[in-house]
């Protein structure tokens, strides 16, 4: 039920983001979605791609520090209050969201959000119990 995400350490200087995307592009890897967390010194680029292992390999080869993390992709009704309803479920279970970002999905009634929880398994079962759709990796990489 979890989705593989790769995280890349990027120094806060010009051209680094372009470098990562260029390496992935040249390797024929498609970026499904991404988010960038930044501080004054460095950033962490989080990506979901269609071939996690290959992406990790080519980036490491080029000297980047890369790690793989399991995240959770959840469908959220694309209407006012959709995200709030989901967060309330987590709040009730005292589960923390470490970070989250949106997934760009074409032609759909539902939005997809990517979550990193402090307690992943507990979060998944809480969401499933409330009839939220948790997407598996295969489905997501090929959307």
């Amino acid at each position: 039920m979890q989705v593989e995400q790769i995280s890349v350490f990027i120094e806060n200087k010009s051209g680094r983001l372009a470098e990562v995307t260029r390496i992935l592009g040249e390797a024929g890897i498609n970026i499904r979605t991404l988010s960038l967390a930044d501080t004054s010194d460095f950033g962490i680029l989080r990506l979901i791609v269609d071939d996690t292992e290959k992406a990790k390999g080519v980036l490491k080869e080029r000297g980047f520090t890369v790690s793989k993390t399991e995240v959770v992709a959840v469908e959220i009704p694309d209407r006012p209050g959709g995200l709030a309803g989901l967060l309330e479920v987590l709040d009730a279970e005292l589960i923390n969201v470490e970070y989250m970002y949106a997934f760009v999905e074409r032609n759909a009634q539902n939005a997809v959000m990517i979550f990193r929880f402090d307690e992943t398994a507990k979060a998944i079962s809480a969401l499933c119990a409330k009839n939220f759709t948790v997407l598996n990796g295969e489905k997501l990489y090929n959307l």
Partner: protein, 434 residues
């Protein structure tokens, strides 16, 4: 103007005769009282009777900072504890400081040499000395303080920090002399300007700056911004503290080293061979009158040259050039001694951190800054910002606690630290570029 005209202007032959007499007595004393020297002189096969001319000094073995560390805390003392009236220690060196002890006579000599230094710098009885050197284990504060009192000047025991108060006191008390690190003087001038106070309007006329390396460019900057005469002072706690050598205000061309108490030599740091006057090498000092912790041929690691040419001020004591570097990799950051190896061992102690680091030393708003760049590899990488920030803060905190120096830890990409011939360049010091 001299503080002790007789001794400060002794003819060369008289200085050398006095040095020889004191050197012989020193060798006899340490052989008698310090097991370390009994052993090292024994190994070198020399005793006091073998010292018959100053050139015999080269027969004596060197003393290294490591010897002082190995003797922690009191094993190099030549006087019994009941005769030691003061203990100081040098700033952070791998956790354990270097400890020095002074007898009443040592404090007396130090006070006199510091008073001589004040006079050489252009300070007189009647001056108000604002002493911003740190009071405490560091020798700077108390060393300058006792010298000021010996001279008979009024001394304000400010110590470091609390810049606003420093400025207020300097303004209200009419300080005429400032003693601190050169970088702190500029920092205070800038802080004052922000408060709408122009340092040039204060009564300061002399600044005595030391405890960190500074350039002629920085001197010009200080003299312009503070409207005073900036003088370089040299000292190190192992030898005594501040006042080992000082520039005279008449020439400001080299620092007179008080030769009736210290014998300086300049050596090739690689071979140990003694170099000629004018040649650049490592300064080695023998403390010929010290009782608490006398040292024979102490390797200061400071790079300079020496001249015995007469000086316009009339002092006959040799002059050493302003320090142009170190023969080891020690850095002096805001007056604190830091070896890259110490930072390396702290980094190694942080779980997962590889010793891929670089130290960038700079001067911002006239204060030394230290940036420690650490390469992020998979062992320490996290997809969460807070974990990486916590790691950086943990390293900053440990460096502060163990070395006493504030730094900024910057996490960088692997291999971003320039490696030349497979070896990383560990230190980039941008301070002396100005």
């Amino acid at each position: 103007m001299y503080f002790n005209e007789e001794f400060e202007t002794l003819p060369r032959e008289a200085i050398e005769a006095l040095q020889l007499k004191r050197l012989k007595a020193l060798v006899r004393r340490v052989q008698d009282k310090v097991p370390f020297y009994r052993e090292s002189l024994g190994k070198a096969g020399v005793c006091a009777d073998d010292v018959n001319s100053l050139s015999d000094l080269t027969k004596l073995p060197f003393t290294y900072k490591q010897d002082m560390r190995d003797s922690y805390p009191y094993n190099l003392f030549a006087a019994p504890m009941e005769d030691i009236v003061r203990i100081h220690a040098s700033s952070g060196t791998t956790g354990k400081p270097t400890v020095v002890g002074y007898t009443r006579n040592d404090i007396d000599v130090w006070s006199e040499l510091m008073a001589r230094s004040f006079v050489a710098a252009g300070v007189h009885k009647g001056d108000i000395i604002h002493n911003s050197y740190g009071y405490g284990l560091f020798t700077g504060g108390l060393g300058a303080h006792y010298g000021a009192e010996r001279l008979g000047a009024s001394v304000i025991p400010m110590s470091g920090g609390n810049t606003k108060k420093q400025i207020m006191i300097m303004q209200d008390f009419g300080s005429t002399v400032l003693t601190c690190t050169p970088s702190y003087s500029l920092f205070m001038a800038e802080a004052a300007r922000e408060e709408g106070i122009d340092f040039r309007d204060l009564k300061l006329k002399v600044g005595i700056f030391g405890a960190e390396p500074w350039s002629e460019g920085m001197r010009a900057d200080i003299e312009q911004k503070l409207n005073l005469s900036a003088v370089d002072i040299y000292g190190l706690s192992e030898i005594m503290g501040p006042g080992v050598a000082i520039e005279c205000c008449e020439a400001k061309k080299g620092l007179h080293i008080w030769e009736d108490h210290f014998i300086p030599e300049i050596i090739n740091p690689e071979t140990g061979e003694v170099l000629k006057p004018g040649e650049k090498g490592e300064l080695v000092i023998t403390t010929i009158t010290k009782e608490g912790i006398p040292l024979i041929r102490y390797r200061t690691r400071d790079i300079t040259s020496i001249t015995y040419e007469p000086c316009v001020c009339g002092r006959t004591h040799a002059r050493i050039a302003r320090m142009s570097g170190r023969s080891d990799d020690m850095l002096i950051i805001r007056g604190v001694n830091v070896f890259p190896s110490q930072i390396e061992s702290i980094l190694m102690g942080v779980e997962g951190v590889e010793p891929h680091y670089q130290l960038i030393i700079d001067r911002q708003e006239s204060l030394d800054t230290l940036e420690v760049q650490v390469e992020v590899d998979e062992a320490i990488f996290s997809d969460e910002v807070k974990h990486l920030q916590a790691l950086a803060h943990r390293i900053e905190k440990q460096i502060k606690e163990m070395l006493g120096v504030t730094c900024h830890v910057k996490l960088v990409e692997p291999k971003s630290i320039t490696r030349s011939e497979g070896k990383a360049k560990r230190v980039i010091d941008n301070r002396l570029k100005a």
